[in-house]
Amino acid sequence: MDIVKFISRRSLVPRLIILILLILLATIPLYTKGYTIILLPSIFMYIILAVSWTLFSGPTGYISLAPAAFFGVGMYTAAILGETLPLPVFIFAGGLISFIVALLVGALTLRLRGIYFAVFTFGLVMFIAYVLLFWELHVTGTRGRFVIVVDHTTIYYVMFGILVISLLTAYLIRRSKFGLALQSIGENEEAAAHMGVNVTMVKVTTFAISSFFMGAAGAIWATKLTYIDPFIAFDPFFSFMAVVMALVGGGGHLFGPVIGATFLAYLEELLVTRFAELYKLIFGIILVVAILYLPNGLVGLIQKLWRRSSGGQHADT
């Protein structure tokens, strides 16, 4: 009797599915070789970016266009430290340096509201790229750097590990009092402050945590590219992708960015191989259509269809 009750609990089925999926993904390198092992890490990378973007920007409503900045910081950390330090250390360092940069940037700018914040974070990407370029041209006298080469299976597992940890963190934050505080900031910042939420601390910390994962993902991504320069590492396209994927998936749900990133990253892979010239154009069109017709993202669409097919037995929430 208890077992029936246990199994029929609503949240159990999705959890089992996730568990099976994770085990499947963790064992993939054991029985497949080649393309899958190369393709999956790039999908993981986008999921990490989208999930960590949503971690901060989803509940608070601050549109950050800085993912590319932290991703790039991670890449440069890997390029500089990769030769001398062991892999886990420089991956962690990539995350940590991003975390510190985010703390500084956040403390400086998170008092900016709305559009100002979006613009500032967007400028940050270009700013770091130009400073680095200047530094390389005038101080070190080089352009770009080589990154230590790592085999595909290692890249796969490191990316997968970061993905699992970032998802777990996002999940735990959503369920905690801390997540509640974030949500309240998004709804009404002044009210949240009056209720005793340390608004600045919560914002800056979350911003830095989300940047940690972006930086760590950047560090391992750099080993995949093997050569980077300021404009490869600090490409605003990664910021857009993170935002687009999160929004196409649906920012309100934990799995929204996962679904959006998986869908669009796979689509990117298909488009790049078939129509290399057109894929950014098609992406732009998808973004416009998603903004116009899918205000709650793919997750919203799925929920709507689900409700319709199950005959409206759940309340419309």
């Binding site: 549109i63 709305g114 613009v119 857009f240 929004l247 154009l281 732009g284 973004l287 416009v288 205000p295």
Partner: protein
């Protein structure tokens, strides 16, 4: 002395172009509330149409102002009437609209930029027009740069007169102050918002024509100009059109000095000014609050 004159002149010329771009963005953001990050793409379109018309058909670039302007205006007007209007109607609040329209503008950025790359390629293009030296007070200026400065200031002045002296200009200013009340006073506000968006695109188109006369152009250069425009708009004060014009000139002068000292640091200096401004006076030079 002559060097100083040259640096100041360059600053004014670049500043004049920045001013046009920023006034355009100010119309789109200050009045229509769309932070149009695809603004720079209209510059690209304007610049490449001019380049094409001049190198293929031999049409005078200054004459292209008359061709590019209406084309850019029409694109902007139609975009607002279709896309941004429907976003405005479906958004529960202005904040939500601002966020969603920003993202929609990102989509537009990809679309326009890649159409431009497909149409004109992504390599650097340039042509030579009015490239003769003009001697003024001991300093030597290029003819195309003088023409650019003249036209940038002229367009700015005409636009200022349009805003302050005509009924339509008054409607735009009313819409910038308070769209809802302006609507109650009999201003066809939807029309005015679309008009502002179109005029913003027109300014970007004009700037594109002028930029193509003095610099080499590239289909991917739009984003850089958008960033500059945003900085200028914030510098001048959100929603203040004279502020944007003044901000453009100031940033142009700063950039010109920075370029004289170290060309690699021009963008860095813009961003430094921007950061400083946001921390010290977020309302901008001529902004209220």
């Amino acid at each position: 002395m002559v060097t100083i004159l040259n640096v100041v002149f360059d600053g004014l010329m670049v500043g004049g172009i920045y001013a046009l771009i920023a006034v355009g963005l100010s119309l789109q953001y200050g009045v229509a509330k769309v932070l149009n990050v695809s603004h720079g793409e209209f510059i690209v379109v304007g610049a490449f149409i001019t380049w094409m018309l001049y190198t293929v058909f031999g049409i005078n670039p200054l004459l292209c102002l008359v061709i590019v302007g209406p084309v850019a205006f029409l694109i902007g007007f139609v975009l607002h009437r279709t896309m941004f209007r429907s976003l405005l109607n479906t958004s529960p609040s202005l904040d939500v609209f601002e966020g969603r329209s920003l993202l929609a503008a990102f989509g537009l950025l990809f679309v326009i930029q890649n159409i431009a790359i497909i149409a004109w390629g992504d390599q650097i293009a340039s042509y030579s027009y009015l490239a003769f030296p003009v001697n003024l007070g001991g300093a030597v200026f290029a003819g195309n740069r003088l023409a650019t400065l003249g036209f940038a200031l002229g367009i700015g002045l005409i636009f200022y007169l349009f805003l302050t002296r005509t009924r339509l200009g008054k409607a735009i200013r009313a819409g910038a102050q308070d769209p809802a009340t302006a609507g109650l006073m009999g201003v066809n506000i939807n029309q005015v918002l679309a008009l502002c968006f179109g005029l913003g695109a027109l300014m970007a188109g004009f700037a594109g024509v002028l930029i193509s006369m003095i610099y080499s152009i590239q289909a991917t250069m739009g984003l850089q100009y958008t960033l500059i425009a945003v900085i200028v708009v914030v510098l001048g004060g959100m929603g203040s059109i004279p502020g944007s014009f003044l901000g453009g000139i100031i940033l142009g002068l700063v950039g010109s000095v920075a370029t004289y000292i170290e060309p690699g640091l021009t963008m860095v200096s813009y961003y430094a000014i921007f950061t400083l401004l946001l921390l010290v006076r977020p309302a901008g030079i001529m902004g209220k609050k």
